[in-house]
């Protein structure tokens, strides 16, 4: 690695040294608790759309914790956060364009 790369890697490592283990243990515990809630909800005989909404809400929360703390994005510069997250969300949202077609198949009984 050249000097700039080494300096950047050292800066990142310096940030890592300031994080105690406790913070990560809390995040891990929160992720386990949310997983437990999800499993509990799976047996509540809930209306599917409602259950899907709650499960996806919890999954997004879990994803946020993993990306923010475990993947360290919370401590990156703004440009990094915006570049990664906006491109990801926009691309995944664009895939949804096809989803209404699935409903059309059912509603119009197209086979």
């Amino acid at each position: 690695m050249d000097a700039i790369q080494i300096a950047l890697a050292e800066r990142v490592a310096e940030e890592q040294r300031h994080h105690g283990k406790g913070q990560f243990l809390w995040v891990w515990a929160a992720l386990l608790v949310m997983t437990g809630i999800e499993v509990y909800l799976a047996y509540q005989n809930m209306e599917p759309v409602r259950m899907l909404t709650i499960l996806m809400g919890l999954s997004l929360l879990k994803a946020g914790l993993i990306i923010g703390y475990f993947m360290h994005l919370k401590y990156e510069v703004s440009a990094m956060k915006w570049m990664t997250m906006t491109s990801l969300v926009v691309c995944l949202a664009l895939m949804m364009i096809f989803l209404p077609d699935a409903v059309r198949v059912v509603k119009l009984a197209v086979r």
């Binding site: 891990w28 499960l55 996806m56 994803a63 990306i67 993947m71 491109s87 691309c91």
Partner: protein, 266 residues
């Protein structure tokens, strides 16, 4: 001579602008790879959602045994992310021994995940949930999931497609961490694992052929460590950690969508 080298180094450093993203290029490269890979899983999960919405009688066949198994798998994966974070931290602190131990712990959790998942697949296949190109297991022509596979073929296709893709990622992750932790000494271990997986599974199991992923992994790793033998530093561990956390992250969506939304409630 050394002064010349230092001046040359500084001149090279001045020739480049500081990174816009405030971090080193290896890490940015891994983030870009993960963004593209997340679209792979995004496409698979959207395809699954499309199939589910457009199929009125989507089956919900997973018994409590499957859900319990998948929950334990999730716990293993979450714990592996914690041990991975500790490995990255140990690497940043320059504690090589702790770094290696945490990496090995992460690999152990990842391996447990794959083994449990393999057991789950084998159970489902023996109960009739299968794909046309899977070898036919002996017995059980009227097994519980045969009707599901026959009437809603989208279910086994999406289930095996998504979970198989994820299992492949976990396997690659374990190999990646093995090379970072043990370097060339991991290759004979990997070859041993391949032989155990290949010879230890019956020839009607998809894992009998799937185990060759380990052989391919050993060959690729052999080429990599031969072309670029090096001691992996803190930045390499951090980049490997990003990949590992991504694998964990994807499962946070696969588990509720594929398993929990298909729970059999009696």
């Amino acid at each position: 001579m050394s002064d010349v080298a230092v001046h040359h180094h500084e001149a090279m450093a001045d020739a480049y602008e500081p990174s816009l993203f405030g971090t080193y290029s290896k890490k940015i490269g891994m983030w870009l790879f993960l963004l593209s890979d997340s679209l792979t899983f995004g496409a698979l999960l959207w395809a699954y959602t499309y199939g589910r919405v457009s199929t009125p009688n989507w089956p919900t066949p997973f018994h409590s045994e499957s859900i319990r198994n998948a929950t334990v798998m999730t716990a293993f994966l979450l714990t592996s992310s914690l041990t991975m974070v500790f490995a990255v931290r140990a690497a940043a602190l320059g504690n090589a021994k702790a770094q290696r131990l945490w990496l090995l712990a992460t690999m152990a959790c990842g391996t447990a995940f794959v083994v449990l998942h393999g057991r789950e697949w084998s159970n489902l296949i023996s109960e009739g949930l299968t794909l046309p190109f899977f070898p036919t297991p002996p017995g059980h022509p009227g097994a519980e999931f045969s009707e599901v596979a026959k009437n809603v073929p989208q279910f086994p296709s999406t289930f095996f497609g998504i979970t198989g893709m994820h299992m492949l990622h976990v396997t690659i992750g374990v190999i990646y961490l093995g090379i970072v932790a043990l370097r060339k000494w991991f290759i004979p271990i990997l070859l041993g694992l391949w032989l155990v997986a290949w010879l230890g599974t019956p020839d009607y199991s998809p894992f009998h052929y799937g185990s060759h992923v380990l052989l391919v992994g050993a060959i690729v790793c052999g080429v990599i460590v031969w072309l670029k033998p090096k001691l992996y530093d803190a930045s390499d561990v951090e980049v490997a950690g990003l990949y590992w956390h991504f694998v964990d992250l994807v499962w946070m969506f696969v588990f509720p969508l594929v398993y929990l939304m298909s729970t059999k409630i009696i």
